[in-house]
């Protein structure tokens, strides 16, 4: 696998696993928050406009905003968990297969959580917007559309679960 002196395989293997871990942690929190913010503005703008004609919808429809917010919290939690997995490893062992594996595991975990939360936030936001508009016209629709939102928010949870499982095996070599 470690081939001639200027191949991509060699270049990738020379990148420190700490780099991959750090990028993974930053993606986990950064992209999750992007998803949550996207979802909140999609819901919020429709909610404000619809509440002018039908003020009763405001308190109930904050649930949609809360579901989007939960997505950001997932990202924060996973980022904190991931950064506790970062251990110091002596110089000689940085490029051991064990170290590389740990670095890649944290990276992958971060990507999983980040992008799952991105699409989850988007999904919940769009449904929340439709929910606010429908509730303003006909209040029996609210609970039915909320069920769709709950299924949507499960997507973020799947990402968190898989991310945590992935990072649980991120063990650095002993000193």
């Amino acid at each position: 696998m470690v081939a001639s002196s200027s191949s991509w395989a060699r270049a990738l293997l020379q990148i420190s696993p700490y780099t991959f871990s750090a990028i993974g942690i930053s993606i986990s929190i950064g992209v999750s928050v992007l998803g949550a913010a996207w979802g909140i503005y999609i819901t919020g703008s429709s909610l404000i406009g619809a509440a002018i004609k039908a003020p009763r919808i405001t308190s109930k429809n904050l649930i949609s905003v809360i579901f989007c917010e939960a997505v950001a919290i997932y990202g924060v939690i996973v980022a904190i968990i991931l950064q506790t997995k970062l251990d110091s490893v002596p110089q000689t062992k940085i490029y051991d297969p064990e170290s590389l594996r740990a670095g890649y595991a944290i990276f992958a975990s971060g990507i999983i959580v980040g992008f799952a939360n991105l699409v989850c936030g988007l999904c919940v936001g769009i449904i929340g917007s439709s929910c606010a508009l429908s509730d303003a016209q006909n209040s029996t629709l609210f609970v039915k559309i909320l069920v769709i939102e709950i299924f949507g928010s499960a997507l973020g949870l799947f990402g968190v679960i898989v991310g945590i499982i992935m990072s649980a095996h991120a063990t650095w070599p002993m000193k």
Partner: protein, 351 residues
């Protein structure tokens, strides 16, 4: 990209879309119309309307009410809502909203020019103009003697300027030319609006194409029926049809040579969406055609609300309000003239 509007539409249009859907919930329902149709006097109508959203606009009117007052106040409500939306809109929604009013501008221009031709007072004509189609130099229209002056003095500064390129002749204005001018302007306006919507793309383009195509086809049929028996030649008639829509181009060829209503019916029945309209009419009758077209239009406009994240809801809302004002005018006239049996001839229920 069609299908992904949901991700970015709400940045600029989310608030206004929610507002226009709130306005839509204030449209009169069938129950309201039933109440109104059973009124005996115009004061009863005013009382029923004050329980709806028109309340604040009608409550200060003194008691001997005229139908024109009712219609004027209801139109004022529409104008207020439109202006509220226009002030909060950004591009391209603001341009879209302005396009909706160009049709009224064309009607106002034709109204003033025709009125001046028949020696009416300018102030009186200005009061009859539709408020959505007013522009600054509109009073100057009364001065123009022919089309070139009309263009040079007034219209070159308005948004209608690009629509005049096909109409500028040095002929004097008379009734026939004014009607041709109106239809030529409207044709240019519809084509321009269609191109603008196509440029917007996505769900707006798709839904607006359908609505504008129906409008173009309806106008083609109306032009045909109105010009049967007049001195409008076939080529002139053909030139007034728009270059898009279900009937373009083969339907237009057939309509251009029609000489009576049954030939029109024969031409239109080849198109399934219009076949259902024409099947409601018995042979030789054209009075119910207007109502049939209005019903079909209302059905399509209501369907546009089924989808979210596009601009066609704004267009649909304006048109539905105008239909409602037409309904109110018809009901008020029937009540004022004691002809309540004819009320249901022309009222199109929206919900």
């Amino acid at each position: 990209m069609y299908g992904f509007e949901a991700m970015t539409f709400n940045i600029h249009g989310g608030y206004l879309e929610a507002i226009v859907r709130g306005y839509r919930s204030g449209l009169l329902t069938a129950a309201d119309y039933n109440n109104l149709c059973q009124c005996e006097t115009l004061d009863d109508i005013k009382m029923h309307l004050s329980a709806t959203e028109y309340g604040p606009y009608l409550q200060n009117e003194p008691s001997p009410l005229h139908t024109t007052t009712i219609v004027e106040k209801c139109t004022l409500k529409l104008v207020d809502e439109y202006k509220h939306m226009l002030t909060q809109a950004t591009e391209p929604l603001s341009t879209f909203l302005e396009y909706i009013t160009y049709g009224h501008m064309i009607d106002n221009v034709v109204l003033i020019v025709t009125g001046t031709l028949h020696e009416r007072d300018v102030q009186e004509l200005l009061e009859k103009c539709h408020p959505l189609g007013m522009f600054d130099s509109i009073a100057t229209l009364a001065v123009a003697q022919n089309m070139r002056e009309l263009y040079r003095l007034v219209l070159v500064d308005t948004p209608l300027a690009p629509y005049f390129s096909e109409c500028i002749t040095s002929e004097d204005l008379d009734d026939m030319n004014i009607e041709i001018m109106r239809n030529t302007l409207y044709k240019a306006y519809l084509e321009d609006f269609y191109r603008f919507c196509q440029k917007l793309g996505g769900a707006t383009a798709e839904i607006m194409s359908d609505l504008l195509a129906f409008e173009a086809d309806r106008r083609a049929v109306n032009i045909t029926i109105n010009s049967i028996g007049t001195e409008l030649t076939r080529e002139d008639r053909r030139k007034l049809y728009s270059n898009f829509g279900l009937l373009y181009p083969y339907g237009h060829e057939e309509l251009a040579i029609c000489e009576d209503i049954d030939q029109v019916r024969g031409a239109m029945e080849k198109y399934p969406p219009y076949q259902s309209i024409f099947s409601k009419l018995s042979y030789g009758e054209s009075q119910m055609l207007d109502k049939a077209f209005y019903e079909e239009e209302v059905k399509r406009l209501c369907l546009s609300f089924e989808q979210q994240f596009h601009y066609a809801v704004f267009f649909a809302y304006m048109r539905l309000r105008e239909q409602e004002i037409r309904n109110l005018m018809w009901i008020s006239e029937c009540v004022a003239q004691n002809q309540k049996s004819r009320v249901h001839d022309s009222v199109v229920f929206i919900f």
